[in-house]
């Protein structure tokens, strides 16, 4: 656990010591703000809960994209620069490395997500929404982000460099998102399986409306767990090259 905390601290520091972290942070906040202003507030009259729902809808999109960009560097960058030899030759297990890297990326994503709180707060002050809807929405963003960052971690473990890592992660996340469409154009049991495995349309919308379902939370946690396990095994298998 001490090693995980050490890796998290170093990795998290790396986001703030390099321009990349600030670029990601400011870009996501700018996009969220623009989308919120242009579409969620818009010109048409809407109920406060609908505005908040739209905010979470846009934020989930920026969260998915941010997850890919944040996680691309985790191991691919280290392999590119040669710094991976430091942690891989240290008495640290592959699981500690992967979990440490994942947690750092997820915490950074959580910081960005929490930095958008002022927008729901504006709706809360000027409109009529329940704190429950805000909390459920943010929990949804965090668990969705955890699943996406875990997928991105696998992309970064597999890829030889950051560009390939980005493409791989985007491909995997894109595939899990379009499972919803696949479910509509296929027949059971493939349709049923695809609909359940879909990363977004089946599991995220309830969070936007303030419905907190344990099944949906468990789904995202399971996806994160699955992809982290695969990442650990891939990293272990690299010793057999």
């Amino acid at each position: 656990m001490r090693m995980v905390a050490l890796i998290v601290r170093r990795e998290l520091g790396a986001y703030f010591r390099s321009p990349l972290g600030f670029i990601i942070l400011s870009t996501v906040l700018l996009l969220d703000g623009l989308l919120f202003n242009a579409y969620a507030l818009g010109a048409a009259e809407r109920r406060s809960s609908s505005v908040l729902m739209l905010f979470f809808y846009f934020s989930s999109g920026t969260t998915l994209v941010a997850s890919i960009v944040i996680s691309m560097r985790l191991l691919a960058e280290e392999r590119q620069t040669g710094s991976a030899a430091l942690i891989l030759s240290a008495p640290v297990s592959e699981a500690e490395i992967v979990i440490g890297k994942f947690l750092s990326a997820w915490i950074f994503l959580a910081i960005i997500t929490i930095a958008t709180l002022y927008m729901p707060f504006l709706i809360f002050v000027n409109g009529s929404v329940t704190p429950g809807q805000i909390c459920a929405g943010y929990l949804g963003l965090l668990v969705l982000g955890a699943a996406a960052v875990a997928i991105g971690t696998l992309g970064s473990v597999l890829a030889p460099n950051q560009i390939v890592a980005t493409l791989l992660s985007a491909g995997m996340i894109g595939l899990t998102v379009i499972l919803w469409w696949i479910a509509h154009v296929t027949s059971p049991p493939l349709a049923t399986a695809s609909a359940y495995a879909d990363l977004y349309m089946k599991h995220f919308p309830p969070f936007m409306t303030g419905v907190l379902s344990t099944a949906n939370v468990l789904y995202y946690v399971s996806v994160a767990y699955l992809f982290l396990q695969i990442s650990i095994r891939v990293l272990e298998a690299r010793r057999w090259r």
Binding site: R17, T81, R239
Partner: protein
């Protein structure tokens, strides 16, 4: 300290290491010598447990590199061919991270970082970002992270690669200083680098271990003394004159340029005074008579029983190994 038995590594169909066996005792400084692609880095990566062997066994301090990778890594310090540095960190924070990663904590970690900064002469750059360092400093920082946890074995992969002459001399001194506390294994494709620092060399060639002579025995492995001679005059007659001398076993013309001939002689025993007297007696202007630094090519060719590659015989025809 390090024991390797029949170690074999295949990358697909390519055999990178072929049943290599050797022992390294505690406190030895060993040079792993080989041309590019000889299997040096593969060997070092297996010993650091970064990759696993296809067959055979390797242990560090009695611990198997496959079964007890974590224990092996705790006893090792490793500097790969590219120093594993995080460019955005300062040297101090980087070394502190490396120390903590190897189990040092709190005040002990900080004190040890200060010690290795002193040992590797990087104190003046400790607050600089690692990405701003010169190549020489990056290598030093690389060595500092490798020894920060007081490992029993330090493994260095081509530590002098890319350094200028002054930095190379400094690096040799630094590696020599490690011998008092650590068993040192380092790879190089330059024999002079190894000969200045090591007690013994492991000679790898195309994945096979050709030998592991002590530096003092290397001349004996070669069996002869190589001498370079330069005189004013044409090669004709020179080769004949020198070949007749007792103790001169081989004469080859290295080059003939601007009226000067350079020859490579193989002597056993060392009959340089007789060679000098014979040349001067025949009226040749003797411009050079000395022993060149042992070169890796000569070592390989001698160990494998071939003649020196690229030398020419008295008639100027190429004399290449089979």
């Amino acid at each position: 300290m390090i024991s390797v038995e029949n170690l074999t590594k295949c990358y697909g169909p390519r055999l990178a290491l072929d049943r290599v066996s050797f022992q390294i005792e505690r406190g030895e400084a060993i040079g792993l010598l080989g041309l590019n692609g000889a299997g040096k880095t593969t060997m070092l990566k297996i010993l650091t447990s970064l990759i696993l062997p296809s067959a055979g066994r390797a242990t560090v301090d009695g611990l198997d590199v496959v079964k007890n990778a974590r224990g092996v890594r705790a006893r090792l310090g490793y500097l790969p061919d590219t120093p594993p540095i995080y460019g955005e960190m300062t040297v101090r924070s980087y070394l502190l991270f490396a120390a903590q990663l190897r189990g040092l904590v709190g005040r002990e970690a900080l004190e040890r970082v200060e010690q290795v900064e002193e040992m590797t002469a990087i104190r003046d750059v400790r607050d600089e970002r690692a990405s701003h360092l010169s190549h020489g400093y990056r290598q030093r920082v690389g060595i500092a992270q490798a020894i920060v946890h007081r490992p029993s074995v330090v493994i260095l992969d081509e530590p002098t690669s890319g350094l200028d002459p002054a930095q190379t001399v400094e690096m040799r001194g630094l590696i020599r200083s490690l011998r008092s506390e650590h068993t040192v294994l380092f790879s190089s494709h330059l024999l002079p680098e190894v000969s200045h620092v090591c007690d013994r060399v492991l000679i790898l060639h195309r994945g096979a271990l050709l030998g592991s002579p002590k530096m003092s025995e290397l001349a004996a492995v070669l069996g002869m003394h190589t001498v370079l001679v330069r005189v004013r005059g044409e090669p004709k007659g020179l080769v004949e004159l020198l070949s007749k001398l007792e103790g001169v076993h081989e004469v080859s013309v290295e080059q003939f340029n601007q009226g000067q001939t350079e020859l490579r002689l193989m002597l056993a025993p060392d009959v340089r005074p007789q060679v000098a007297r014979a040349l001067i007696a025949q009226g040749y202007d003797l411009l050079r008579l000395d022993r060149p630094e042992l070169d890796l090519e000569t070592v390989f060719l001698r160990v494998t029983g071939h003649k020196s590659q690229g030398t020419r015989d008295a008639n100027g025809s190429a004399d290449r190994p089979a």
